[in-house]
């Protein structure tokens, strides 16, 4: 029986020729990641059990992004704990205010993760790097502590669902709409414990930013990981970033899949996930009433990348957001922020009545920088719309693409961009 992409990467990192779904294995890790929320817990564990040094200071990454620049005294304490540990252990990839970005935008951008690698991160959206043909998955702080101590992690070999893509997206549709469409179709536990493997001729019509946004939300379907086949687009992206040898993986032709979905990208419409689950998806035809909004957030590890900023700038240029819609734009990394300045997006955003923030997770997890009051509604390019995710338990988050978010900011209610 053949193996899936995920199974092949795991087999290689477990130093065995073959693995089967359900098998328990221990793998060698290429990278262990944590942030300012999860690392302090891992550090405590690491120290409590008397470990002295991490398995490899070049293979641990810590990013201060969730509550940084420090939201309050407790956040400051947590970042300090990370900083102290990172300096003491000579952690090579420690990113603090001034050089940090949202972790899942930062690691691919800096080439810290690459194709064929095996990565764990104490953050559920670590699955993002599957876009690069890597196996990467979110774990908890104890896994992070054990990973830092030993460079290893235990896994149950997952089954996989294959998404065979064909066709080309409409101009107002992006990777975000595709993944929302898929989650709407299979549900928030539709891929529970499984891999989501994306391949097919349609891949060539998906940019790296589209793929990163899609792999990012694999966890919202319950998946262990999402992974894309390697092609010229992957190669072009990693060529300038990953300066070490890497190996790419494709699924065997006789690999076993729990399910295969054939998806025509040209049939997908702008898709919006209504409160309070990412699976509550609708397209404009399903939305009968005007859904008036109070806030728009364009950013996060799903859609804070340069092409997302470009889309927002294109739509907001020369326009103004509706009165009463607080529009918060958060480029995901310093490099993206700088490029937005160079290209004149900042001016477009500010003239349109938006605010632009330094990179941070901020409002995405209801941390700070845009918390919702009771009864308020927000259209966000983030990835979760659970109860209370962005603030008050009676507030509502609608998940959408950057194009839909920008169009909604201008309209003052949920609206899709109709194209140029």
């Amino acid at each position: 029986m053949g193996m899936t992409m995920t199974q092949k990467i795991l087999a290689e990192h477990a130093h065995v020729a073959e693995v089967k779904a359900g098998q328990l294995i221990e793998v060698d890790l290429d990278m262990v990641l944590g942030n300012d929320i999860t690392s302090p817990v891992a550090i405590k564990e690491f120290e409590k059990y008397g470990f002295e040094q991490v398995f490899d200071p070049g293979r641990v990454t810590m990013v201060m992004d969730h509550f940084a620049p420090n939201k309050d005294i407790k956040a400051a304490q947590q970042c300090k704990a990370c900083r102290t540990f990172a300096y003491a252990k000579n952690i090579k990839h420690f990113y603090d205010v001034g050089e940090m970005g949202i972790e899942h935008a930062l690691l691919p951008e800096k080439g810290i993760v690459g194709p064929g690698e095996c990565i764990i991160g104490a953050d559920s959206h670590t699955c993002t790097y599957g876009a690069l043909n890597a196996f990467s998955t979110g774990v908890g702080s104890t896994d992070m502590a054990a990973g830092m101590a030993t460079g290893k992690c235990w896994f149950k070999i997952p089954e996989a669902i294959k998404f065979d893509l064909r066709g080309k997206l409409a101009p107002n549709v992006s990777g975000k709409d595709v993944i929302l469409h898929i989650i709407g179709m299979i549900g928030v536990d539709g891929a529970l414990y499984k891999s989501m493997e994306f391949s097919g001729v349609g891949l060539r019509n998906l940019t790296m930013d589209d793929r990163l946004a899609m792999a990012n939300m694999a966890i919202e379907a319950g998946a262990k990981n999402g992974i894309f086949a390697y092609d010229e687009i992957t190669e072009a992206y990693v060529k300038e970033r990953v300066h070490r040898p890497y190996k790419t993986y494709e699924a065997d032709s006789d690999a076993d899949y729990a399910n295969v979905y054939h998806i025509d990208l040209s049939a997908i419409k702008p898709t919006i996930a209504f409160p309070h689950l990412p699976e509550n998806t609708k397209t404009m035809e399903d939305i009968k009433e005007n859904i008036v909004i109070d806030q728009v957030v364009i950013g996060s590890c799903t859609n804070g990348r340069l092409s997302d900023m470009e889309t927002a700038a294109k739509i907001l240029k020369g326009k103004h957001v509706a009165k009463g819609v607080r529009t918060i734009i958060i480029p995901a990394t310093q490099a993206i922020y700088k490029e937005c300045m160079k290209r004149g997006y900042m001016e477009i955003f500010i003239d349109a009545g938006c605010v632009v923030s330094t990179p941070t997770c901020g409002p995405c997890l209801g941390g700070y920088m845009g918390i919702l009051a009771e009864g308020e509604r927000c259209v966000a390019t983030t990835n979760r719309n659970f109860v209370g995710r962005m603030g008050h338990v009676e507030s509502e988050v609608y998940l959408a693409s950057p194009a839909t978010a920008a169009a909604s900011a201008i309209a003052g209610h949920i609206a899709v961009w109709e194209g140029e």
């Binding site: 956040a75 947590q78 030993t150 659970f386 109860v387 209370g388």
Partner: protein, 163 residues
């Protein structure tokens, strides 16, 4: 390993944001976390829960963020086992890694109501409902998970495995 306590029942897709909201994540102290456990869906939970009680839920328990604060908050609140129809995978890992027993058992999840008195034998996977006079069978832990549980968590298991 065994436990006995009263059930607290919830529905499907109980996510980690309601188990412990992000606004309380600026600490990792188990006691502080336990004080806010489940506050967004069951404000009274922290007052009702007693040591060794059991949490029961439907599908996809613990979905959402990878925060280990969620199983830590549940464990620190006194809960001795979570029974659900299914668990989100990161929550599943986290619970095992910190030594919070969890069992997948759709039948138990359907039949058990809040305040039922429940007894669990982790070695056999048997769940006894004393209030209803029924019992349900869950899959017992595989050997490697038993080893982690025996050591009260992954870190101990690694540490002791090494020495």
């Amino acid at each position: 390993m065994e436990t006995k306590g009263y059930a607290h029942k919830y529905g499907d897709n109980v996510d980690t944001d309601v188990i412990i909201p992000a606004r309380y994540l600026n600490t990792s102290d188990p006691k502080e976390l336990a004080e806010k456990c489940m506050c967004d869906i069951d404000a009274d939970f922290v007052n009702k829960v007693k040591a060794n009680d059991i949490m029961v839920a439907g599908f996809n328990f613990g979905c959402g963020s990878s925060r280990e604060h969620a199983p830590i908050a549940i464990k620190a609140s006194g809960i001795s086992c979570v029974i659900a129809k299914s668990f989100a995978r990161i929550f599943y890992r986290n619970a095992i890694n910190i030594g919070l027993p969890i069992l997948e058992c759709p039948k138990a999840s359907e039949r058990i109501d809040t305040a039922d008195e429940i007894e669990i034998n982790f070695d056999t996977g048997e769940i006894i409902n004393h209030t209803k006079g029924e019992s349900y069978q869950a899959e017992p832990f595989p050997a490697f998970i038993q080893n982690i549980m025996k050591h009260n968590g992954l870190m101990n298991a690694i540490k002791e495995g090494k020495e």
